[in-house]
């Protein structure tokens, strides 16, 4: 959305330029203020923003919006300030005259956080009546945030003209925020303001109400009851939020564990190199994105879709290779398998470190994976939502594959009774290799998703291996549904414990609970019954 918005602002700025060109220039406080931008001093810049925004000059909007986007150029030597348009053409900020080229010493006027807030506030009151709907909404929201008295007139003017309902509501809230802090507002106005904020009912409203300072007694009382009601509604929402966070954490756990549920759960191989398959998937994503960045930048939003099958193939192929070259000699010797796969995990880590370097690699988030939306009073981030859906899809496909395909049937047959399956003419060693490859491939797919929320570094896999084993053992070895339930149970339990106990203690508590649980039910939540258990 920001890119979108700034594009709109630019076009708006451009239309204002055209008006500005028609006006004759005159020297005065506006010009003096503009020259201050060239001082490269934050206090001077702040002063200049205030004067320029309040000047009523047609150039005010282009100057401030250019300042926000880093397009306001200043030459410290001549104290001249220029606005560079999105099209690369520049004008003199004080006069509006076009200039052919900028001096070499000109550089963008710098901002810090305090100035960014001033710029937002100034832009807010300047764009309250913009023809574009989302710009108006944005403007009303930034006035709400800054709630400076000077904006009141502009808000009132905009309110009188506004026809859109949501913008009108936002303006009303902005007005309420201003009035609440305005020292000479009447008691009635303030009580209305409190009621408006109570209706808004979110954290920002709460922040304004708690921070409003000295007020008449009736207002303080009304505010106190508003705070109470907002807090109790937020408390309910925070439970919903914890549940959502739990689902989201559960989906990450499930995604990381699902490949292990096959190699360890179904095949019984204690596969310590599982995490490295996840890492290889993440690095595959990195390589795909690198190629796309350099060759086909337009495809960036599809990079993950391309990476998923590739990661499956790469990790799966490595998995088959590992099974054929190492693991098949170690079936039935769990300790040796553990040591061999652990060693293998170190080898793979160091190999990746040598190839890609020890530092993190940047895997970008496509636009549909960034940002968040509000659902009631909770924030749902797109990346977590997509990962949850993706995990469920992977789970469903895997389940269907095991149930309805020939390979799935063979896999189940071999893991349930190897000798019987062999007697029925199934090439068990081929099935072993493919099963291990499948588990590794799915781990690779998990790596694609995890690259969106975690570091892509050689250590990526290590951080998931313990959790993955925990989920599989807790859910019940050999049962995919157990893995699903186990992952979500652990995720939700963790997220409800975390606010109470803190992240560190929460994690410890979960481990202790699992240990106790395993004492009671050594085979996990969903224990396999029958002969398979003995095998």
């Amino acid at each position: 959305m920001p890119a979108n918005l700034s594009a709109r602002l630019c076009s708006f700025a451009l239309s204002l330029f055209l008006i500005a060109f028609a006006l004759p220039a005159f020297a005065g406080p506006f010009e003096d203020a503009v020259a201050k931008f060239a001082n490269d001093d934050f206090s001077d810049t702040e002063e200049a923003i205030g004067v320029v925004a309040g000047s009523g000059n047609k150039l005010a909007f282009p100057i401030i919006s250019a300042l926000q986007d880093g397009r306001l150029m200043a030459d410290p030597d001549s104290k001249k300030v220029y606005v560079t348009g999105a099209d690369g053409k520049s004008i003199d900020a004080a006069t509006g005259e076009p200039v052919a080229s900028l001096p070499d010493s000109a550089s963008a006027v710098r901002l810090n956080n305090r100035l960014r807030r001033s710029v937002d506030a100034a832009l807010g009151s300047l764009t309250l009546q913009s023809p574009d709907l989302s710009t108006r909404l944005q403007a009303a929201q930034s006035v709400f945030k800054s709630h400076e008295e000077t904006a009141l007139e502009a808000v009132d003017a905009a309110l009188a003209k506004e026809t859109n309902r949501s913008v009108k509501a936002a303006l009303g809230e902005a007005r309420a925020a201003i009035l609440l802090f305005k020292s000479d507002a009447t008691e009635v106005e303030k009580l209305e303001a409190v009621a408006t904020l109570k209706a808004r009912g979110d954290q920002e409203a709460l922040a304004l109400l708690t921070g409003m300072g000295d007020q008449p007694a009736s207002v303080t009382k009304a505010a106190a009851s508003a705070i109470g009601s907002i807090q109790s509604s937020l408390a309910v929402w925070s439970t919903v939020q914890n549940a959502w966070y739990g689902l989201s954490l559960g989906s990450v756990l499930l995604l990381a564990a699902i490949g292990l549920a096959i190699t360890f759960g179904v095949m019984g191989v204690i596969n310590m190199a599982h995490g490295e398959m996840v890492m290889i998937g993440a690095y595959t994503t990195f390589v795909v994105q690198e190629v796309i960045r350099t060759r086909y930048p337009g495809l960036f939003d599809y990079s993950l879709l391309i990476a998923v099958p590739l990661a499956f193939l790469v990790a799966g192929a490595i998995g088959v290779l590992i099974e054929r070259s190492i693991i098949r000699f170690l079936y039935g010797r769990p300790l040796e398998t553990l040591l061999a796969t652990w060693g293998l995990s170190l080898v793979l880590q160091q190999a990746v470190r040598t190839m890609f370097g020890p530092t993190n690699r940047e895997v970008g988030n496509p636009s549909w994976m960034s940002g968040a939306f509000e659902l009631g009073q909770i924030t749902i981030t797109y990346n977590r939502l997509w990962i949850l859906l993706f995990t469920l899809a992977v789970f469903a496909i895997l389940l269907a594959m095991l149930r309805y395909t020939a390979l799935g049937l063979e896999m189940r047959a071999v893991t349930q009774n190897r000798r019987m399956a062999a007697s029925m003419g199934i090439a068990t060693s081929r099935v072993d290799a493919l099963t291990f490859g499948l588990g590794s491939g799915i781990a690779g797919i998990a790596g694609v998703a995890l690259s969106q929320i975690d570091n892509v570094s050689p250590n990526l896999g290590q951080s998931y291996i313990i959790d993955s084993f925990m989920v599989v053992v807790f859910g019940g070895v050999g049962n995919l549904w157990g893995t699903l339930v186990g992952a979500f149970t652990l995720g939700i339990a963790n997220k409800f414990l975390e606010p109470v106990a803190g992240a560190v203690l929460g994690k410890i508590a979960i481990l202790v609970l699992i240990i106790l649980f395993i004492q009671k039910r050594p085979r996990g939540l969903f224990a396999l019954k029958g002969r398979a258990v003995e095998a």
């Binding site: 934050f42 710098r110 810090n112 956080n113 305090r114 960014r116 807030r117 937002d120 945030k145 954290q203 709460l206 922040a207 304004l208 109400l209 708690t210 921070g211 409003m212 937020l234 925070s238 939020q241 914890n242 966070y245 989201s248 954490l249 990450v252 880590q349 160091q350 470190r353 370097g357 020890p358 530092t359 993190n360 690699r361 940047e362 970008g364 988030n365 960034s370 940002g371 968040a372 924030t379 981030t381 797109y382 990346n383 977590r384 929320i453 975690d454 570091n455 892509v456 570094s457 050689p458 250590n459 290590q462 951080s463 997220k495 975390e498 606010p499 803190g502 992240a503 560190v504 994690k507």
Partner: protein, 440 residues
């Protein structure tokens, strides 16, 4: 060379005596060639993890020392001898740090060691350096509360990073409410203890301070970011002071960006996030978040521009970034070279005595000085993250700040000083006029 001469001599003996004779000779030769090698070159130990969790940060420092040695050798080395790097890999394994340190000093006979990143690795090698009396240059910002005879701390002490950062937020951003978020280990815990005491001394109430610890490599930041948002909605300007360690930062910042926590609303000032860490993230949503360091790559001085250019040429990577601990090694290395040249010897005792008072230019235009407490003077910069993964300096201390070995904010340490020049003591109590010694 050793094997060749052994072979020659061994060949002149009869076959039967060979075994015994070689064994005996080996012993004699080993010490002989050791001494001879020391005559040819001066050995410099490099003790940084090249594998494991910390490789991400420490590998660069190993390269930095190799680069500095290379540059020094081009200038003719030190005392007319070439420097020779001895690189070992302690593999992010704290006990292994001590073993490798011992190996460097006793087997390789190094004159000085540059190394360690985490405080726990430094604590692990301390006894070795004391026992074998060698020198360690430690280049990373740390929690303070230490001053050892054999260690020179070229990174920032808390008063050279954390305190100025908090001052900046109080003054410039008018922050009234504080979240102290850190990874659960000694550096964040001690730093936060110091900061909490400091904030309270500035009149910040207990309920306006939220302290939060997370495990190493924490990756699910949803709850904590939501908590920070909630804490920040109490009507007072809120900021986050982050001592979150390396790897956990990427998901933390991603979550901040996704949940829409903007720097202009709730700024995050970090003490462990530099150019290297940002290289792994898309920094556009993070613009405006802060970091406090004694060096930024973006600082424009002739010394820094030359350093960056030489470094990128040396590593053959025109995009390779530089960072604060690298600069600490640059300063430390220059100080060691100067001290060695001053006393015309690499003998640790002489060099340790010569180092306090030695000055070396830093890369940001000032001259850093080694203090009697084995810390150095450094400027402090506050930088804002820019869209290109670099920092824009928005504030700096007027001059250089002297590093305090012992924090003035904590009750237990405010009377202590480290002084290895006059008092010959790392924890001298100025109230009781006594040296506490190594027992405490």
């Amino acid at each position: 060379m050793l094997s060749k001469s052994t072979h020659d001599i061994a060949a002149s003996f009869s076959r039967r005596g060979v075994l015994a004779a070689t064994a005996g000779l080996m012993l004699g030769l080993a010490s002989f060639t050791g001494a001879k090698a020391a005559d040819d070159t001066i050995k410099v130990g490099v003790l940084h993890s090249l594998s494991g969790t910390m490789a991400i940060s420490e590998t660069t420092l190993k390269d930095t020392i190799l680069f500095l040695i290379d540059e020094q050798n081009k200038k003719g080395g030190v005392l007319g001898k070439k420097l020779e790097a001895v690189v070992v890999d302690p593999a992010s394994n704290w006990p292994l740090f001590a073993e490798k340190a011992r190996e460097l000093i006793t087997k390789d006979k190094v004159s000085v060691v540059f190394g360690c990143w985490t405080s726990v690795s430094r604590k692990s090698v301390l006894p070795v350096f004391k026992e074998l009396n060698n020198i360690l240059f430690y280049p990373v910002q740390y929690e303070g509360e230490e001053s050892e005879r054999n260690v020179f701390y070229t990174g920032a002490a808390p008063n050279q990073q954390a305190i100025p950062a908090v001052d900046y937020l109080m003054k410039e951003e008018k922050v009234k409410r504080w979240v102290l978020a850190g990874t659960d280990y000694v550096y964040p815990r001690t730093t936060n203890k110091i900061l909490e005491a400091y904030l309270k001394s500035k009149g910040v109430a207990q309920e306006d301070i939220m302290i939060n610890y997370t495990p190493f490599g924490h990756s699910d930041w949803q709850t904590i970011v939501a908590d920070i948002k909630k804490f920040g909605s109490a009507g007072k300007k809120t900021a986050v002071v982050s001592t979150i360690n390396g790897d956990a930062n990427v998901p933390f910042y991603k979550e901040l960006g996704n949940q829409g926590v903007k720097a202009k609303d709730i700024p995050v000032v970090a003490f462990s996030v530099g150019e290297e860490e940002l290289a792994g993230i898309d920094t556009k949503p993070l613009v405006g978040h802060l970091a406090a360091w004694n060096y930024f790559q973006s600082i424009k001085t002739p010394a820094n521009e030359k350093f960056i250019k030489d470094w990128q040429t040396y590593t053959k990577n025109p995009k390779r970034v530089t960072n604060d601990p690298m600069e600490a090694h640059v300063i430390g290395f220059a100080m060691w070279v100067k001290a060695v040249e001053k006393v015309k010897s690499t003998d640790p005792d002489k060099v340790i005595d010569a180092l306090p008072g030695i000055e070396a230019p830093n890369l940001t235009g000032g001259v850093s000085k080694m203090l009697p407490n084995h810390h150095i003077t450094k400027p402090v910069f506050i930088g804002e993250i820019k869209g290109n993964g670099q920092f824009d300096v928005v504030w700096k201390t007027p001059g250089l700040v002297a590093g305090d070995a012992w924090s003035k904010e904590l009750d237990g340490s405010k009377d202590l000083i480290g002084d290895w020049v006059e008092k010959k003591c790392g924890n001298f109590n100025t109230k009781t006029n006594k040296c506490l010694g190594s027992g405490s």
